[in-house]
């Protein structure tokens, strides 16, 4: 208070201070009224970008789903029997695989061991009994004659069936069976029989050793389904492009 000059100086400095205060107040006010501080701008920009990306992905997924849905709708409107068709395909596949009991026209081939006596020492006794190879020959011939379903002693012969001698008996589908053998085949009966009876064919070869072969045509045969479980550990379908490599 003693010196007016000091007062003036302080007043001037206070003026500068007041200016600074006012400007700062104004600035802070503006920033606060803008809603969110710019301090978070980068963070918000980052979040915005992430959300935009999510939205883009979601939209593309949606478009994909809509396309699929449209396809289903198209299929449904064109033909309301998709399920029926699929069921039909499944039934057909199961029938081809031997998983359904089938019936139809066909033949029954009865094979029995030879009743001939082996009078000659040097001839092997084995020639007079039925072997797995004989059965396989018959089945192969039946298949060549377009048999659609084959069974051996009511064991369905499927793609994975093995037929082999297991000591005195025969093993098929992991079950054993023995002579006489009834081979049933569904197909064109006349064609099947003529295939077997072909000159120099299977029946000729078997009868040479006295093996009894009787073939009867049946108007209606019932061939049971395969009762086992078809397993696969190693085989898997391949995609087209892999095959074409």
């Amino acid at each position: 208070m003693k010196n007016r000059g000091i007062q003036i100086t302080i007043a001037l400095i206070c003026m500068v201070l007041g200016m600074m205060l006012a400007v700062q107040f104004k600035s802070i006010e503006t920033i606060n009224s803008a809603g969110v501080g710019k301090l978070r701008a980068e963070e918000l920009q980052f979040a915005l970008n992430a959300e935009k990306e999510k939205l883009k992905n979601a939209l593309s997924a949606l478009a994909e789903m809509e396309k699929k849905l449209e396809e289903y709708h198209d299929a449904a409107s064109k033909n309301d029997r998709i399920a029926a068709i699929m069921q039909e395909d499944l039934e057909r596949a199961k029938m081809l695989a031997g998983l359904t009991t089938v019936q139809g026209e066909g033949i029954i081939v009865k094979l029995d061991d030879s009743k001939l006596r082996n009078n000659q020492e040097e001839v092997n006794e084995n020639y007079f009994i039925i072997h797995d190879s004989d059965i396989l020959l018959v089945i192969n011939e039946l298949r060549a004659s377009d048999a659609e379903a084959i069974s051996l002693n009511d064991e369905r012969v499927i793609a994975t069936s093995q037929i082999r001698c297991a000591g005195p008996v025969l093993s098929i589908n992991d079950t054993t069976t023995s002579a006489p053998f009834n081979i049933k085949a569904i197909g064109d009966a006349a064609k099947l029989e003529s295939g077997l009876r072909m000159r120099g064919g299977v029946v000729d070869a078997l009868q040479q050793w006295g093996i009894e072969v009787t073939i009867s045509r049946e108007a209606r045969l019932v061939i049971p389904k395969y009762n086992g479980v078809i397993t696969h550990k190693y085989a898997y379908p391949v995609k087209e492009e892999v095959v074409s490599q």
């Binding site: 208070m1 003693k2 000091i6 007062q7 100086t9 003026m15 205060l21 600035s27």
Partner: protein
């Protein structure tokens, strides 16, 4: 005491009328600088009341402290450490000390008591 207050009010009026705004990025430095300036003003008032006022010290302290405080805040931001806290503590502390001096002087002067 009236003239400095008038100066302060005049400065506030000018600041409000000024069309400029401090960018948000610099507002923190400005705040620290304002604190330093307030400290200088209080120091100047206290010195003038005690009769120890020095114009050069006052002016240089005002601007120097403001710049140093803002500079510290800036460096702290660059270094990732809140160095401006040092300025806030230092100037805040001195602000109260100076205010205490002013307070006691005024109380002694107007209440005619000699106890400090």
């Amino acid at each position: 005491m009236i003239i400095p207050l008038l100066g302060l009010l005049a400065g506030i009026a000018v600041g409000i009328l000024m069309p400029y705004n401090i960018p948000f990025a610099y507002s923190k430095y400005m705040a620290v600088a304002i604190l330093a300036c307030m400290d200088s003003v209080f120091g100047g008032l206290a010195a003038s009341l005690q009769g120890k006022f020095d114009m050069r010290i006052f002016i240089s302290g005002f601007f120097g402290n403001a710049l140093l405080a803002a500079g510290l805040a800036y460096i702290g931001d660059r270094l990732g450490a809140d160095i401006y806290m040092a300025a806030i503590f230092a100037f805040g502390n001195r602000l109260f000390l100076n205010f205490a001096i002013i307070r006691r002087y005024l109380l002694n002067k107007y209440l005619k008591k000699d106890n400090i």
